[in-house]
Assembly symmetry: none
């Protein structure tokens, strides 16, 4: 309780052994060392390979199984799951559990916002449309002045949600947005990389498409524009995670010089 205002500095204080093993096996699976449907080494072999106890191996396999990457058959062995769609498989393989939660929440947010845009295109009134435009131009202004655009971006999305005339869309956005930061808003590790001018220009370009669709009352186009915007954001988010994990993996490798 010493300092609540300070941002939590410990991004990754201590990777548990099982997490390390999970990451290692994930990487192997992603690299295709073991093909879907085939058997992983036995727990005993993995114990020797990684130099940890069977407890750790079992916990790691349990986590992988929880993510659906592998499945254990008693008496037979642990097998790589057959069906994982390539997209989702790579996605899940790339990220740790905590990050995957953020991405999952973001995905729910995506659903809400897409429909929100469609409804806004249909139901908006003049004042609401003006609010959306105002947020758009505010973003533009901040961008020109090189000021942080996060708030304006958030305002843009909230204005759209508000234009549905369904208060729960706004509430939903607030609740979901607070947890899974939409990647365009400030984030612990989004220092300069994300704030680059070209990055924000891209955001604004996507915003414009959304805005045009809404003002023209085309629900379908609005949904598609919002979908494009958010999936792109999702992609950017994922890339950042990946970059972070590469960094993290390298640091682990450095400490494990054996």
């Amino acid at each position: 309780m010493a300092s609540d205002s300070a941002v939590d500095l410990r991004v990754e204080r201590k990777p548990k052994l099982s997490e390390t093993v999970v990451a290692a096996i994930r990487k192997q699976l992603q690299a295709g060392d073991i093909l879907p449907g085939h058997k992983l080494p036995t727990e005993g072999q993995l114990t020797e390979t990684f130099g940890v106890s069977r407890t750790v191996i079992r916990e790691a396999l349990a986590k992988l199984a929880a993510d659906g990457l592998v499945e254990a058959r008693q008496g037979a062995g642990v097998f790589v799951t057959e069906h994982i769609s390539t997209m989702f498989g790579a996605l899940a393989a790339d990220m740790g559990s905590k990050d995957s939660i953020a991405l999952n929440v973001l995905e729910v947010r995506l659903a809400v916002e897409i429909e929100s845009a469609g409804l806004a295109a249909i139901r908006r009134n003049a004042a609401q449309e003006a609010a959306i435009q105002e947020a758009f131009f505010e973003f533009e202004r901040l961008l020109l002045n090189s000021e942080p655009t996060g708030p304006a971006d958030l305002a843009f999305h909230r204005a759209i949600a508000s234009a549905t005339n369904n208060p729960f869309y706004v509430e939903m956005l607030d609740v979901l947005g607070r947890r899974a930061i939409p990647c365009d808003v400030t984030s612990p590790w989004s220092t300069e990389l994300v704030q680059s001018d070209s990055y924000q220009r891209g955001l604004q370009r996507e915003h414009l498409v959304i805005l045009n669709a809404i003002t023209s009352g085309d629900a379908e186009a609005a949904r598609e524009a919002m979908r494009a915007h958010l999936t792109a954001s999702q992609q950017r988010y994922r890339e950042r995670l990946h970059a972070r994990q590469v960094f993290y993996a390298d640091s682990v490798r450095a400490s494990e010089t054996e």
Copy 2:
């Protein structure tokens, strides 16, 4: 390996102990026995409570942690994480009393389910697809026997949400669905009017379109089918409300003009 092509019919293949524990703790958390941010019983206490070894408890906690429901801090204990459902707890409690609000919630649910169907079409695995089909045929069976189809309908929607491989979709569906049931499910005022055979036949027809789209892996078609299904349900819901309101009296209208 006698029948590899056939879907595994044994619903309860092997209830691992850890899974049982996971389910039990999940239920407790969902029931609100332990509030977010608070500490769970220690592993030792859980060992005694469930009568299993600490190995099983640890595996169960690891799975819960993988789902983001709890997080363990070494030396301190295992704590319940702040969760979306809890944030929605108060929110969901507020709504549901008024029908207009229920309609708004239903609309949010529509957004979630539409996207859910699209993701299910892309990401589903064999077991999940089988679960969806099973729910569909269960609906069919109940329909032929003139039994209430509500549970099967709900199972159908939950199976689709589950097939997204994003646990938050299921959770969202549960939270939103409990209050504003989609009118096809049992509801206090859905006595016979809603249960009419032709009505349920229509539902099942819409379900079939969704099912086909998902099994064929067409995300766009799945979304459209789900959208059609839910907007139709929305419409039916409105009609029922209107009928009820007319049946009651016009006095209500006086207080809430507009």
